[in-house]
Each structure stands twice: as structure tokens, then as C-alpha cells.
Amino acid sequence: VSSHVPASRPPTVSRRVVLAGAGALTVTALVPIHGGPWVRALNAVTEPLERRVARRLVGLLPDPSALHALGRRALATSAGEPNLSSVVRAIAVSAPGGVAALAAAPARELRTHLAAVHDRELRDGEVVVIDGWVTATLEARLAALAVLLEHRDRHDR
């Protein structure tokens, strides 16, 4: 998701959505990783790596559907044509070991890592502006990922 936002687009992301996003990315709000060990093991043999990581990341969000509006706008306003893999890889840039590390990290470490990235981005102003809302880049990427993953799952079904 780039920082480019087209001019004069009417605001469509409600403040409820953005406030929900703020809570979703705090360390304490991140829920236990989605699914049990057996689900992860099953996914590991049937899904591409990026998709598994996407599922892990989105699974950390307490209510991914609450971020769909933000995610759709983030995708719509992005400069390129982001897909699930490219967004996962962008998130993984911050992790030593890249995508594989995100796939292998214990849930607690993953949550801590994401919370630290989120905090650092806000501190350093690494943000994107979506419908006017100032959003940490990670927050926008996770929201985009939630949308892409749902789209992918619907396609598979």
C-alpha cells in the first residue's frame, strides 16, 4: 500500500472503523492465533507460504471484518496492484528472516513483533492516509490483507 491518495475522494471510512483499528493493533488486544495446532499443521501442507502467513496475521486481529472497509479503501488507493503475496512480503520486510520467519514465529513473538512495528511506525511517522485517516502502514496492510484473504477464500469456495 503506497502513501499515494487520490485527491477529492469523499471520505468513506467511518471513524468507528478507524477507532476499531486502533484497538486491534495493541499488544493486549491481539487474540490468540487463529485455529489450533492441528489446523496450522493442515494448512502448512496445503497452502502457499504467503497465504499461510496472511492467515496467521489476520488471525491475530480480534475482528478482521471490522477492518474490511479500511482495507478496501487501502487497496483502492494504492499505486500498484497489490495482491496477497506482495502485501505479506511488504509486512515481512520488517522481520529478520522475512516471510518464513513470520510463518515460524511463535504466536506471542509474532504479536510482540507486530505491536513493536506498529508503535515504531507511529513514532516515526511511517503512515499512509486513507480517506483522510492517518494510519500506520502496518495497520493499512493488515486491513488490506484481511480483504484479500477473504476474497481468496471466497474464490476457493
Partner: protein
């Protein structure tokens, strides 16, 4: 003495050591500071001792660039100048304001900060500010602003600079006008003030010194002043206007060899740049509205720390937080009955002695302390103490106050406690624009009644201004989110050429005779002497190279005090 130029016979020639053109805050400061100087001072003021529409008409002009206030009222032409409608808001410049910014051309004052700072204490006295400075720690109470102590610090615990709240102070209304120095001017032995003397031209007679100052009166008479030294102190628009209109040496105007007179007009642009949705709707924002503290009126503004501005190559942005109450509270506090009560309070003696307001406060005190079951004959509906106890102890229940206690009680509760449930907070940005040659004062073909071409104000901003403001707002939004204050939505466009409809200025006219070390970059040198005309000095905010984070009046008074020192040497 103070005399009326209408009494000066047509064709008279007066001589003086120092001629001050303009009786506004810069001119008056200068005159007062030269009280015991061993030379004569003559001040020419176009107006009298009160507003006169006939005189004021000479201020009319055209607005050609960005929308701006009517020039007819953007400054005032009578003794005291624009301090006669001044809002009284004061804050000094900082060291960073005077520093050159590598990424922004024409920034940087050719003046060490200490050269300005040493005159601020006296300037503060002259503008009528009471004791105290601008350090937030002097003024704030810990429970009434958006950010905690740690968040407000330059270097909080994790080492990351965050936001700052800065204090701006306001001179009391009755102290603001420099007209209050009329008696001091009248009694000053070396000073003559000629009222109703509109200067029409500075004439060099072909050499590089001003030999004559030509003036006219409403009655049609004209007279000449022969000065040793001239100080032009007619404000940020008219200083440039008069130089451009003085063409006997150069058709481009006096001291305008490098086409800089009137250029780089600066304002402090402002508009609603964002809205903040607080996570806690009951946050007190009292610090961010005008309020009295230890005998002074103060207000807090949000701003980025200096080190962030430097690291990101930004100019100053300060944000006024304007809370928008939840609907029921908004209706209550703006109800007709509240306005009537306010008017009545003012009529019976105002906030300090008004019986009504005292009564309202007493009643609300009762409401808050729930010590009385009923107030016989009270003008307000007063609910039962048990209900009030719930109201003040539980914020969700307190939201019902308008319904339970009525509009006036709600308004007084808000006034007394500084709290009401907030729907969102408008963030009004005021920013320091970059010096830009296309932003300028030039001359109209139309002339005023004295024959001086009227001013055309072509105020312009740049894409750089927009980009820097956008980046500043991104940083501020991120920091407010990180601090857990709330989420920020920017309400202006990053791209495009149009500026928001609510764009305005602060009646701050700066930059049109900018100060510079080199004649290539400005009109006057660091001593405020014209680079081209050795006996011409310029006072006022027109010499500011940049607008900075301060407010102009305090700094232009400080600079006038500094100029007085220079002139003592010059004319001794």
C-alpha cells in the same frame, strides 16, 4: 507635543533629525524609546486619535491572489495603528524560527537570536503583558490537556520526541491599543507628532539619500519634511506601498534595485486541517481555549518539537484544538436562554462582578456538591441531589445533564468544569509559509485621495507549503494515535491547487521589505537600514524574513527597541 497637520500651512517645510512615518506599534515604540535622545523626532501619522472613515479609505485596495480580508479594514490608520483592533495574542520567536532551513529557500534571519531575545522583556512590558513567560510548566495543570507529562516532554522515556503543547498569551483588551501611550507621546520633550499627515512620497532628489518626505492632509494642503534619517513604520502592506510609490530615483521604487520591495509577502495561513476523534470523549480541553490563569489569559496549541521540524525539514505548524461537543450539549450551550443569560450577565457587570454569573456559579456549585436538596426561588430547574450525584460520578450518566438540568445549568457546568462530552475536535492549523517571490504587494492604477497608488495584495502559497503541512499533519496524527489520544482525519487535499474555503490569515503582514545580510536577498540589512538608501530604516513586521512560530506584534516591538539603540548611535 501632538499637533494636527491640518493646521500646517500649505507649502510649509519642516526640518527634523528623525522622521518616523507611521504611528502604529513600531513607530510609537521607537519614539518612546528615544525619549531622552539628544535629537528631534517628528512622527507623521495619517490618522487622528480615533477612527475616521475618510482617512481609513486610503487603506482600501485590491485583493488579487488568494482570498483575503478586505484591505479597507485589514489595518487601521490612526494613532496606535492596527493595535486598535489587535487581538492581543503574543508569543516570541524561537531560535529555530530564525534559523535557515536547508530545504526551504530564503529562510533564516541574519540576526543572532540573542539580538532579539534581549529586547523581549521590555517589549512584553510595552505591549501590556503581565508577569510570566511562555513555558508550559508555568501555566498548565496536569489534568487538563491532551497529553501527559511524559508525552509533553522533549524526550519521553523511550527517547522519541513527540508532540508539544505551547502556550500563547493574550494581552487584556483594555491594554491592547497603543493609543494608551498618547499622553506619554504628548509629554515627550523631543517629539512632535503630526496627526492627519499622510506621507505620499519619499524623495531623494536624485542622490542615494532621502532629502524630503512629502505629506498631505485631508484639507488638501501639502507640506514637506526635511529629515536626516527616516524610519518607515507604516505596516507590512504600506511600507512596501510607499517605497514602490517613491519613484524619483528609480521607476521601480525606492530601495528596490533587486525587485524585492513588496515581494515575499507572508501571512500565517490557517484553516481546519484535520479532526481528532478522541478515544475518551470526556477529555478536558480547557488548556486549549482562552482561559485565565494567575491574572493572564493563556491558550495552548499543539506543535511538533523543534528537532522533528529540523529532521523533517518542516516549517512551524501549530494546531488550535476546537472541541465540538456532543449534539445535546452543543444545543444546550448554544441555546437562546444561555445567550440571554450571558448577555444579562454582561449587562449587570460582567464576569468579575456580575451577580448573575456569581449566582449561576453558586448554583452549579450546589449542583456539583449536591449538598442542598433544593434551592428556593432558583432560576434554574434543579434536580434532586441523588440524581446529581450519579451525574457527576458517572460520565455516561453525566451525558444526560442537558435533559435533566436544563440548558443554562449545562452551560455553566461546562464553564465551571471545562468538561463536556466531545464528538470530535477540530484541529485548526496555523502554519509558517515559505518566502515566495510571487506572493507580493504591488501598486494599483487607482490612487487614494492623497494621490498615492492603492495597494494590490497578491497573496500566494506554494506546493511546498502544502507538502510540509501535509507531512506535519501526518506526524501529528500518528503521534496522537500513538499517545492513545484518538484518531486523526485530515480534511484537506494533498494534491491539487485549490486551498480550503476556510483559508484565512491572521492579519499578519510580513516579509515585504525583508531583512537580509546580502542586498540580493532583501531590502534592509540586519540593522534595518536600507541596503540602497543609507538614511532610510524600516520598522515593523515587513522586515521579517519568515513568519516563524511567534506572533508579529511582540517581535516587531522588540525590533523597534533594537532599532532605537542603533539610531541613538546613528544620530548622536
Amino acid at each position: 507635543v501632538i499637533v494636527d497637520a491640518n493646521e500646517v500651512p500649505d507649502g510649509t517645510t519642516l526640518s527634523t533629525d528623525l522622521c518616523i512615518v507611521g504611528g502604529g506599534p513600531a513607530g510609537i515604540t521607537l519614539a518612546l524609546a528615544l525619549r531622552d535622545a539628544p535629537f528631534d523626532v517628528l512622527m507623521l501619522e495619517s490618522g487622528g486619535l480615533e477612527y475616521d472613515p475618510e482617512v481609513q479609505d486610503a487603506a482600501s485596495g485590491e485583493v488579487a491572489g488568494l482570498p483575503y480580508f478586505s484591505l479597507a479594514t485589514a489595518r487601521l490608520r490612526y494613532l496606535g495603528g492596527s493595535t486598535n483592533h489587535w487581538g492581543g495574542v503574543c508569543r516570541p520567536m524561537t531560535e529555530l524560527d530564525l534559523a535557515a532551513r536547508p530545504g526551504v529557500p530564503l529562510t533564516g534571519w541574519p540576526l543572532a537570536y540573542a539580538e532579539l531575545d534581549r529586547f523581549y522583556p521590555r517589549a512584553k512590558e510595552l505591549v501590556g503583558l503581565g508577569d510570566g513567560g511562555w513555558d508550559l510548566r508555568e501555566w498548565r495543570r496536569p489534568d487538563e490537556d491532551l497529553l501527559s507529562d511524559e508525552q509533553l516532554g522533549d524526550r519521553p522515556a523511550d527517547g522519541a520526541p513527540t508532540l508539544r503543547t505551547r502556550v500563547v498569551r493574550q494581552v487584556e483588551k483594555q491594554q491592547r491599543s497603543f493609543l494608551r501611550y498618547t499622553d506619554d507621546l504628548r509629554r515627550q520633550p523631543n517629539l512632535t507628532v503630526q496627526l492627519h499627515a499622510a506621507v505620499t512620497e519619499l524623495v531623494t532628489d536624485g542622490d542615494a539619500l532621502i532629502r524630503r518626505v512629502e505629506a498631505a492632509t485631508l484639507t488638501g494642503s501639502r507640506f514637506t519634511v526635511q529629515p536626516r534619517v527616516v524610519v518607515l513604520a507604516t505596516g507590512g502592506i504600506d511600507n512596501a506601498r510607499l517605497l514602490l510609490a517613491s519613484t524619483d530615483l528609480d521607476p521601480a521604487g525606492l530601495s528596490n534595485g533587486n525587485d524585492l520591495v513588496g515581494r515575499t509577502f507572508l501571512e500565517h495561513p490557517r484553516f481546519e486541517a484535520a479532526r481528532l476523534v478522541p478515544l475518551d470523549p470526556w477529555r478536558s480541553l480547557r488548556l486549549y481555549g482562552w482561559h485565565r490563569r494567575r491574572g493572564s489569559s493563556i491558550r495552548g496549541y499543539l506543535a511538533l518539537p523543534d528537532e522533528v521540524q529540523q529532521a523533517e525539514d518542516l516549517l512551524d505548524v501549530q494546531l488550535r484544538a476546537q472541541p465540538q461537543p456532543a449534539e445535546a450539549w452543543q444545543q444546550a450551550t448554544s441555546a437562546a436562554v444561555v445567550r440571554d443569560a450571558d448577555r444579562l450577565r454582561d449587562r449587570v457587570g460582567g464576569r468579575s462582578t456580575g451577580e448573575l454569573h456569581t449566582s449561576l456559579l453558586a448554583i452549579t456549585g450546589d449542583l456539583l456538591s449536591w449538598q442542598r436538596a433544593a434551592i428556593p426561588g432558583a432560576p434554574l430547574p434543579v434536580p434532586q441531589p441523588v440524581v446529581l450525584e450519579r451525574l457527576v460520578r458517572q460520565r455516561p450518566a453525566a451525558a444526560l445533564l442537558p435533559a435533566v438540568a436544563g440548558d443554562v445549568a449545562t452551560a455553566v457546568y461546562t464553564d465551571l468544569t471545562g468538561r463536556s462530552p466531545i464528538d470530535h475536535i477540530k484541529l485548526i492549523a496555523r502554519f509558517d509559509q515559505e518566502p515566495n517571490r510571487r506572493s507580493r504587494v504591488r501598486l494599483s492604477r487607482e490612487r487614494d485621495r492623497f494621490g498615492v497608488p492603492r495597494a494590490v495584495l497578491d497573496w500566494q502559497l506554494t506546493t511546498g507549503d502544502r507538502e510540509r503541512l501535509w507531512r506535519s499533519m501526518e506526524l501529528i496524527g500518528a503521534r496522537l494515535t500513538r499517545a492513545g489520544v484518538g484518531r486523526v482525519q485530515l480534511t484537506f487535499e494533498r494534491d491539487g491547487t485549490a486551498w480550503p474555503d476556510d483559508l484565512s490569515g491572521g492579519w499578519h503582514h510580513m516579509g515585504t521589505t525583508r531583512m537580509s545580510a546580502s542586498p540580493r536577498d532583501g531590502v534592509v540589512d540586519p540593522d534595518l537600514r536600507s541596503h540602497e538608501v543609507p538614511n532610510l530604516f524600516v520598522a515593523g513586521s515587513s522586515v521579517f524574513p519568515t513568519g516563524g512560530s511567534g506572533t508579529p506584534t511582540l517581535t516587531l516591538v522588540a525590533l523597534a527597541l533594537r532599532l532605537a539603540e542603533q539610531l541613538r548611535t546613528e544620530l548622536a
